[in-house]
Symmetry: none
Subunit: 202 residues, 4 copies
């Protein structure tokens, strides 16, 4: 039985950064598991082991928490893609590198990725969608490849959108499948990507 007269709680005992991280992790976990709208700040706070008010030291409001996470994962993807692309080499090989890189990020940040694919409704505003920055980055890669003659000709926006969808589909499948193996999944995605978007030599 719990003694209600316990001296409430220790104050200022933990590393502040660990609290920020605790809020982040708790929120991410809950959002991913139950959906953003079905999670209350009180639940996040409790799960993070802090008081409700403390959550607001780290995020201005609930939506800001979500946006911060979406930006985080978008950043991770965009940076990784850039990094892999900028290593140079033939464009088709860069595609391989990017597919591999994206899967690595996805595997390391499963929850964030799921959040990215789940919260369209909540965040939607002025036609902007989560994932747009990723798609935009893909577009610029594609444009470069197309003007170099290595990628299939077509409307860049549409090509980028399809490539984005293709990758997202593969990732979600990989994450959902219990038997999947990253190396194989990456290989398969790479193969399909190249079939779809790399121009045939004649």
């Amino acid at each position: 039985m719990k003694n209600a007269d316990e001296p409430t709680q220790p104050r200022r005992t933990r590393d502040p950064d660990s609290k920020r991280a605790a809020v982040h992790d708790a929120a991410l976990h809950l959002f991913t598991k139950r959906g953003y709208e079905n999670v209350s700040i009180a639940q996040v706070a409790k799960s993070a082991g802090i008081a409700v008010g403390t959550v607001y030291r780290f995020y201005d409001n609930k939506l800001a928490m979500l946006r911060a996470m979406l930006e985080e994962i978008e950043d991770l993807f965009v940076r990784r893609m850039k990094h892999d692309w900028d290593k140079g080499g033939a464009h088709p090989d860069r595609l391989d590198a990017i597919c591999e890189g994206l899967f690595v990020v996805a595997e390391d940040h499963r929850s964030l990725l799921r959040l990215l694919t789940m919260t369209t409704d909540v965040v939607y505003v002025d036609g902007a969608l989560p994932g747009d920055r990723i798609q935009s980055q893909i577009r610029s890669f594609y444009a470069e490849g197309m003007s170099a003659g290595t990628f299939v000709e077509g409307d860049v926006d549409m090509m980028a959108a399809m490539a984005h969808g293709l990758v997202e589909g593969a990732m979600m499948q990989s994450m959902r499948s219990s038997t999947s193996n990253r190396t194989e999944d990456v290989a398969q995605l790479s193969k399909v990507m190249k079939n779809a978007f790399v121009a045939r030599q004649q």
Copy 2:
């Protein structure tokens, strides 16, 4: 004397089906425009021209309304795909037909499609995602094509997931672009789809 042909005023007892449709349309319109969570039953009822309580004659609760709509659009897509596939012909040609068919449905039911891609968060439960039935249908087509040697070899689930993502990406892009033209978009999607998934003859 009672005139059986009362004028335009809504009757004491209207055709129940027309009410159901009114609720459906009002909800779809509002959900799409403002997001599921930002629409109240009161607003739906008002927009449908009926009382709040009456909404509950047609749907057990708010979430059921959303699920019904998602099922509806999934049905539309699945049925159309089946219909197009079952017309027979070479598998690659069937791909063409399906791409065309899906875009037709998408164009006729923009709001429903939008709902399908936006409400993952709300509906998500136990790993099931809106769109799964569509993906499942794609899987069965793909399996057939693969065993016939017309589709690229690979893990069926992954292939179906990628195809699904590819199509969804194309559709979203098409819907978002103000300058897009369906015929062109379909052509481009078809081409990419065949490059990606149709086995090369040698």
Copy 3:
């Protein structure tokens, strides 16, 4: 001991107008007793014997409740003053009538009057103060009397402000004093008012 399984509460059993009145009275009582800021909607609802949500059927928000009450008492005063003034007669006699009339209203609406003198802080916006409409009405009477030569010359705004303050002081004193007698208080106010504002004949 209370049975928690009681069928919550009867619904729709009371006259709706009685609910509106109950909210009004409960809020007025509590605001007057404890101060607007120190009263919660929950307390108002409880005191009115209804649910919190029901309060919002009658008032858009908490501040609207207060404003409605202030308008109510301002209206009562303004109307009464006009009525008394418009009965005609010599201006000094009208002053008598108005003093009498105002006291009648004040006595019948003690709580509202107190609210009027208490909530300056809350309502203050753009320099507008509760009581301004009353003062404005006084101003127009004064202007009339001054141009007729019956009231003391001076800056009308200042004269009206002083008259207003004088009356308000008298009313508050009358309300606070347990031994006060309306007839006497009115007589005294009238006398002072006439000394202060009625021009001496020579």
Copy 4:
């Protein structure tokens, strides 16, 4: 080598009185500008350049800050009135002096005065009103004047209340009017006051 004359930077330990004053001034400014309820201790602390906790060295709680200010302005008024009254002279002349004195204080402490007339709601408890000490002082002057036969006969409490209201009305009007001129306002107030409360010689 330690330089005892550190520059303008706030010292680890500042003069406590300057801190107290900083809190006082910050709070007064903010209360007057935004209303007591709309100002947080954190804002006061920040504006005063000290920590939240330090505020509590000077005031037990938020309400105590307000009460201290109300007492301050009451003191100012009461002391000034006493001072002017005690200069002696004919009672009517003392009235002139007091009117002048009160306006001087009001002009020098506009914010405090505003606070005095605006925060009734917050402070109100047990029938005690801010301003009561001022009114009480007026009462004692009036009693003296009345027993000397120089002031109009009547119930002292009522007379004092009316005088108080009259002055407050004049002050508020003077403060609100952009075109007002103190000398004129004082003159007008004095005239009306004497008409109202100074007994006519015969």
